[in-house]
């Protein structure tokens, strides 16, 4: 199986720092930085969409790049 890769985009002005995306990302791409999430390990994203699906604030988008 070829590994999917994703590119994470964070809309900082919408993020409320709830931590849902950080907790449920299977490859620990995301980190909290003063109540706003950031992609600390963007290269580890497997485009599973868990973060985008569960973000209550429309603050995270993932595009499949491979």
């Amino acid at each position: 199986m070829s590994k999917a890769k994703g590119e994470v985009e964070i809309i900082e002005k919408y993020c409320k720092g709830c931590n849902i995306c950080v907790e449920f990302c299977p490859t620990k791409v995301l980190e909290m930085d003063l109540f706003v999430v950031k992609a600390a390990k963007p290269e580890a994203c497997i485009a599973c969409m868990q973060c985008e699906l569960r973000c209550p604030d429309f603050a995270i988008k993932v595009n499949k790049i491979a």
């Binding site: 409320k16 709830c18 931590n19 849902i20 907790e23 449920f24 699906l53 209550p56 604030d57």
Partner: protein, 272 residues
């Protein structure tokens, strides 16, 4: 591709008013995906709500929306559907709005089996007004009005809907994001009253009073208590203790109300 929610949201409406981690936003996204899957023409879709944090949902959506009086969403929605049976009608709101002050309207909409989809966000509390207990606050839990623990037994919303006559009843949680849109999609396609109960989280007024240290704790609980109906049939009563069934809980075919009413109009000699 990232999902395009923007085309369904009224310009300039984000960020929404909900608190950090409030599950209502997750439900709203699920509803948008379901409306897209069903290819609902937004000009022919009415989304109706009462009052409460959950009831703020329609205001964000670019469709025909109606924000009504507390508890009265089902009544207004019934009016819309009766006047314009060709319209898709979706109701949304909270457990307080739908089962306390609006409980009567809720059960009678179920009884009539009118073709609408009712998405009820059950966060166990009156969020908007500061956390008073609702008919869905678990026994023993704390609310601003039950500081020593709630003595009341709860309404099981899905069972209430089935008992009252709804012909499609399903349950999921804010954790199970993809199941939200799948079940709402099924509900929209169903001819008759469809209830989709989404167990939800209110970290601000329920979580902080009841042993949850964070939003993530609340999400994990929603994950842990959920058992898909198919899996439950293979589990013992002991194993099911404290669990909640998810998925389609009930589905049947029964005459739909607006269709029956058309017949009444015909019999009375009116223009159908």
């Amino acid at each position: 591709m990232a999902y395009d929610y923007d085309k369904s949201i009224r310009p300039g409406k984000l960020p929404h008013i909900w608190c950090p981690g409030c599950g209502h936003g997750i439900v709203m996204k699920g509803l948008i995906r379901a409306m897209d899957t069903c290819e609902l023409d937004r000009d022919n879709t009415a989304i109706v709500s009462g009052i409460g944090c959950a009831s703020r949902l329609p205001g964000y959506l670019d469709a025909c929306t109606l924000h009504t009086a507390h508890g009265r969403a089902a009544a207004f929605a019934t009016g819309v559907k009766m006047a314009k049976p060709e319209m898709n009608v979706i109701v949304c709101g909270g457990d307080g709005d739908g089962t306390a002050i609006g409980g009567n309207h809720f059960i009678h909409a179920c009884r009539r089996n009118i073709d609408m989809t009712y998405v009820i966000m059950n966060n166990y509390i009156y969020g908007m007004t500061g956390g008073q207990f609702s008919p869905c606050t678990p026994t023993g839990d704390k609310a601003s009005t039950t500081p020593y623990g709630n003595p009341d037994p709860i309404f099981d919303i899905s069972k209430l809907a089935i008992g009252a006559g709804a012909t499609f009843v399903a349950r999921t949680t804010a954790f199970h994001a993809t199941q939200i849109d799948k079940l709402i999609t099924e509900g929209i396609k169903h001819k008759g009253l469809a209830v989709i109960e989404v167990l939800d989280d209110c970290p601000t007024t329920y979580g902080r009073r009841n042993k949850f240290r964070s939003v993530v704790d609340m999400m994990k609980r929603l994950k842990d208590i959920s058992v898909p109906v198919a899996a439950a049939s293979k589990m013992t009563a002991e194993q099911l203790e404290g669990k909640t069934l998810t998925g389609i809980l009930h589905q049947e075919d029964k005459p739909e109300y607006t269709a029956m009413y058309k017949e009444v109009i015909k019999r009375a000699g009116g223009a159908a």
